[in-house]
Symmetry: C2
Subunit: 123 residues, 2 copies
DNA sequence: AGTTAATCAGGATTTAATCCTAATTAGGAG
DNA sequence: CTCCTAATTAGGATTAAATCCTGATTAACT
């Protein structure tokens, strides 16, 4: 028997799509739990992790793992003040001269900076 | 009173410098503990974290936090098979067109790939 | 040498993530 | 439609990195 379509998967995926804040699994669980208290936390963690393995969503490791329903190529920026994560357009990256003999397959670019809201507060 | 020079800091920093594997705090503690069993785990975590805050060493977040005594500009690659981390030369990165209103200050580039040893095993 | 605030040891605590097991259920076969 | 079975789930236990706490220690200034 192959992959099964369950209500839980549907709920979790739809919830993630509605969250534009690049949430952690815990944050997704909180949202899901509001409307669907019967869905367990294990299920949220497991389903998100598997969907990321399958490439249906993106997994972002920033200390804690964040998820992103937007799978088109893009990079990320994290606010060093409040921790907010946002998308930035992807830039071309030349191959590094020294690669230590690794076969390079993919790359993750995370910018660090200050988000608009925190820029105001710092003024 | 300002920062103090302690034997523990000296030991931890020298140990990190001798480890070229981009260790986690736990891995540094293991090494330190072999020769200096009186140094506590809290101290290793605290000292490494503070040194990273001060810019004396680099903090690398890859799920777990790794440290790097090499502070000259460079990027990193992680083997997706065995988890090994190595340095790669840093490439210039054009500013992204869309930055979501963030003030961009820094960036982290982590390549994913296969290390030389795992490339052989996969053959 | 005395003073004091920075630092430490050691253990408790937190928290994200994973693991475990019995119960449930999607989806194919008959 | 009903049965079957393997995939999935709920819920709690467990793991492991990281942080926090408290009393003891100590670097470094006077």
């Amino acid at each position: 028997m192959e992959e099964r379509n369950t209500l839980q998967k549907e709920i979790i995926y739809r919830t993630l799509r509605e969250m534009s804040c690049h949430p952690t699994a815990g944050m997704v669980y909180e949202q899901v739990h509001l409307r669907h208290p019967a869905v367990s936390r294990s299920t949220v963690f497991r389903v998100l992790s598997r969907m990321a393995d399958e490439g249906k969503i993106l997994r972002l490791e920033l200390g804690e793992i964040h998820y992103d329903a937007q799978t088109a190529p893009h990079d990320h920026v994290r606010c060093r003040v409040c921790g907010a994560v946002a998308d930035v357009s992807r830039t071309e990256l030349p191959r590094p001269g020294c690669d230590a003999g690794f076969l390079l397959e993919d790359r993750t670019v995370i910018y660090s900076g200050v988000c608009p809201a925190c820029r105001e507060k710092l003024q």
